[in-house]
Subunit: 365 residues, 2 copies
Amino acid sequence: MTSASGTGGALVKPGDAIGILGGGQLGRMLALAAADLGLDVHTLAPETDSPASRVARKTWVAAYDDAVALKEFAASVKVATIEFENIPTDAVDAIVAAGTPVRPDARCLAVSQDRLAEKSYFRDIGIEPAAFARVDTVDQIQPALDSVGGSGVLKTRFSGYDGKGQVRLEGRVTASAAWASVEAQRSIIEAWIDHERELSVVLARTADGEVRFWDPPDNIHGKGVLRRSLFPSAASPDVIERAKSTAKTLADSLDYVGVLALELFLTRDGRLLANEFAPRVHNSGHWTPDACITGQFEQHIRAVCGWPLGDPARHSDGEMINLLGAEANDWEKHLADGARVHLYGKRRTADGRKMGHVVKLRPRG
Amino acid sequence: MTSASGTGGALVKPGDAIGILGGGQLGRMLALAAADLGLDVHTLAPETDSPASRVARKTWVAAYDDAVALKEFAASVKVATIEFENIPTDAVDAIVAAGTPVRPDARCLAVSQDRLAEKSYFRDIGIEPAAFARVDTVDQIQPALDSVGGSGVLKTRFSGYDGKGQVRLEGRVTASAAWASVEAQRSIIEAWIDHERELSVVLARTADGEVRFWDPPDNIHGKGVLRRSLFPSAASPDVIERAKSTAKTLADSLDYVGVLALELFLTRDGRLLANEFAPRVHNSGHWTPDACITGQFEQHIRAVCGWPLGDPARHSDGEMINLLGAEANDWEKHLADGARVHLYGKRRTADGRKMGHVVKLRPRG
């Protein structure tokens, strides 16, 4: 198998430029890791003064449908990658058409951009998601909810992240109110899972099909947003092995190149249900640069460049805590408490916005 | 005590810009650490396309005596620091005159820029250097060598680094040849030390006088250039404590702010002799980001910004190996062997030039 948008081997040498689509904190942390490997980084994003652009050598401030900018950007780099999954696949196609590989490829993005396609894909390759049903109209809400057992979450199919565009539904519901809460967008209903634990598998895969895993963490969400990741997961070795195997099935099936994260629920009766995957570095892997020989940002760059993967072995236990909104105002307290502190340089603080994270380490148990 | 060029407390907030004078790999690694703390970085250096400039938000390509550029640079940042000690003190003075503190201050640089001033300073504050003698003229070479015991190294007083401008002398010498080898520059002769071990202390000091140390490493040089640092040092706890205490005496005496490194010889009869100090992050501390909770680059930024220091505790043992010149051509092999790999993005490879380093970690013993 070869990747749809690139070939194996070292596409890139130290000193070359690589491209990142997107300007947020993931792009910034990817850019820092790339620079530490001797690479130049070019970014393209619509926002001026984005976090990633401020550590990049060159930046295109351009819409994702700006054909001229995409072509220039593509011509300036040896390979490109993405920092968030809602980059339009047309932008990726334009870069590939200009002769520059993009890793992961447009198909991986397309599957992850549509919750219905994503869950259908899981089923197609033998990965069990929570029960789900399609909702195209307001009339389908109640039957869809009933079909997943009468307790679920209505979620827009497209563009949702961090709990946005989601509403919890139970029993008999007022369909019109639920429909308004997703702005009458095409949606799905997922069964509410009474889970014992949420965990994620973060892995890296090369174009040659080599896969390396970090030890999966347990994840704690609040209002649909990741609050903390505890590493390693307290799940049993059997659960961990099943989770890794499930994520590998997904990555292999997609012929994925780069870092990928799969979020899973462990049910009280011991089943692992796939929640969603991210075709990119992931918030639940933010502790890896601090607690492992090789972190997720560097590993993604290595995979995307066709370079050997690094060692993901973990030297410390601990937890990662997101700093949301005004929580980042306590930066000085966090700096003083002996934790690793990472701040994203965002100009504007908003309620619930991811502004930084801290990682508390302790000797490996 | 207050620093000559700044006051205690948080001068700087995340999102603010800080300045780095100098464009090399130390500046690049400082800039990456600063960005991870949410800071913007501005650089000023004479070289175009310098390693540090490529990860900075803003760059002035300007000579260190370009008054206009220095003033603009100073006005654009809340605090400035240096990435190598041979930045002219006039440039530092100009930035301070423009109202922007520079840490460490010009006096620390001045002492370190002149080997004679440095060694005299060591003596003045009760730190024992190797025996040394001043050499202003060719005629002084033989008497100076005799005065330090007949075996020594002739070194230029100014601008020497990494073994450049140095020649080994023994017994009766041809003074004219020795003098030519230092290009007839004002020099000193240092006694040749038959040492058991070379070690260095890397510490950070805040404007309030708090000092934190990394565990000192043993250092192995070749042709005057650091080749490897082994951490932790195999020296006895007593030696380590004396070494740290010596470095603290120096930092306190200079009212130093930031990371400072002191290189020491341990003689066969158990004396610790100060070799030289660096008023900056140091090659023998390059392993600290990979093996410790907080590495030297981040710690320097914290100190310079008036922020709380991080925890320098070490989670792993190991060694740091410099990649000089063509050694960096083996980058792919190094990436494959499980080590941490850091490449500096230098455009030109030259014999002996520091192109990168690798850090091999093992569980703490």
